[in-house]
């Protein structure tokens, strides 16, 4: 059994964590929920921002990550993508 998550699983976990917190999450909370090191989380966050799946915002001097419509769409499509990928062994 492969215990390591694939990249798309990690991305899904991050986006689901943000979605689960009402669409907005603090970086520290995301670090705990995503189960990643700080360096790795930073890499994924940068990638998700580049792909417009999350946005960064400041609220009352606090930094938050917010899930975008594209990110929400990814979460809903994720199950189908995983099933497709699994069926064809991709």
């Amino acid at each position: 059994m492969n215990l390591r998550r694939t990249k798309i699983e990690i991305i899904n976990d991050i986006l689901k964590s943000i979605q689960g917190k009402g669409g907005k999450i603090k970086p520290t909370h995301l670090l705990y929920k995503s189960n990643l090191s700080h360096t790795k989380m930073k890499e994924y966050i940068n990638e998700l921002k580049e792909k417009d799946m999350i946005s960064e915002e400041l609220e009352e001097n606090n930094k938050y990550f917010r899930i975008t419509d594209k990110g929400l769409k990814y979460v809903s499509e994720y199950k189908k993508i995983m099933e497709f990928s699994d069926s064809f062994g991709l």
């Binding site: 499509e77 189908k80 993508i81 099933e83 497709f84 990928s85 699994d86 069926s87 064809f88 991709l90």
Partner: protein, 226 residues
């Protein structure tokens, strides 16, 4: 007169209908794989999409080049004045030659890309060599129907091995359906080879191939319904 089609006369047009179903299945898989690429940015989904797009394009090229022989107008022309029938024959043979070669090349290319994607062959030198061999195979296949389907069988055996291994690793319904569809498609290639000597086997081959693609269509529908 050179034999351009292996289909029995009573099956004219039906093989094109079967192949149009394969075009639809190919395009559907290509579309969804491309969509998965847009979400994941992982190139193997893009390559997978490309391979099934080329499968669809190959079948479409076949349909177009074969349909020319299935029109009643052509039959009448061929039994008319020698001059008129030769003119029509030359036109048809030019279109059919190009169409057949394009169909053969695209089909071989499609399965090459599928093979390289599944087995994760990333070495550019190896991919270049395989691409060159595909061109050679496509050029030779112009003269040998059997060689074309024999080459496809080789690709399909390797691809089937991958999907069967995928099923053995985790026995899910969808994995079994995918493995089964490719095994059936590989079997159809064997029947195509035999059809060079027996026209009825062409019907069997087309039917078996259609069944393979229908199973693949059913699998995709099961995935997209989730």
């Amino acid at each position: 007169m050179v034999l351009y089609v292996y289909s029995p006369k009573w099956f004219y047009g039906f093989d094109s209908i079967f192949e149009i179903v394969s075009v639809i299945v190919g395009l559907l898989i290509a579309y969804y794989s491309y969509k998965a690429y847009r979400y994941t940015y992982q190139r193997r989904y893009l390559h997978f999409a490309a391979s099934f797009f080329f499968v669809a394009a190959a079948f479409l090229a076949n349909v177009i080049s074969n349909m020319i022989f299935y029109t009643k107008t052509l039959e009448k022309d061929l039994t008319g004045l020698t001059v008129a029938s030769v003119y029509v024959f030359k036109q048809v043979s030019w279109v059919s030659t190009i169409g057949s070669f394009v169909g053969v090349f695209l089909m071989l290319l499609a399965f090459l890309i599928l093979f390289v994607t599944l087995y994760r062959i990333s070495d550019k030198k190896i991919n270049f060599l395989l691409f060159y061999l595909i061109i050679v195979a496509a050029l030779y296949s112009k003269h040998s129907f059997i060689f074309f389907h024999g080459t496809l069988i080789v690709f399909m055996i390797l691809i089937c091995a991958y999907f069967c291994g995928n099923y053995r690793a985790k026995k899910t319904k969808n994995r079994r359906l995918v493995a089964s569809s490719f095994v059936i498609m590989a079997l159809s290639q064997l029947f195509f080879m035999i059809s060079a000597f027996n026209g009825v086997m062409f019907v069997v081959a087309q039917t078996v191939q259609l069944i393979g693609y229908l199973i693949l269509l059913f699998t995709i529908i099961m995935v997209l319904r989730k």
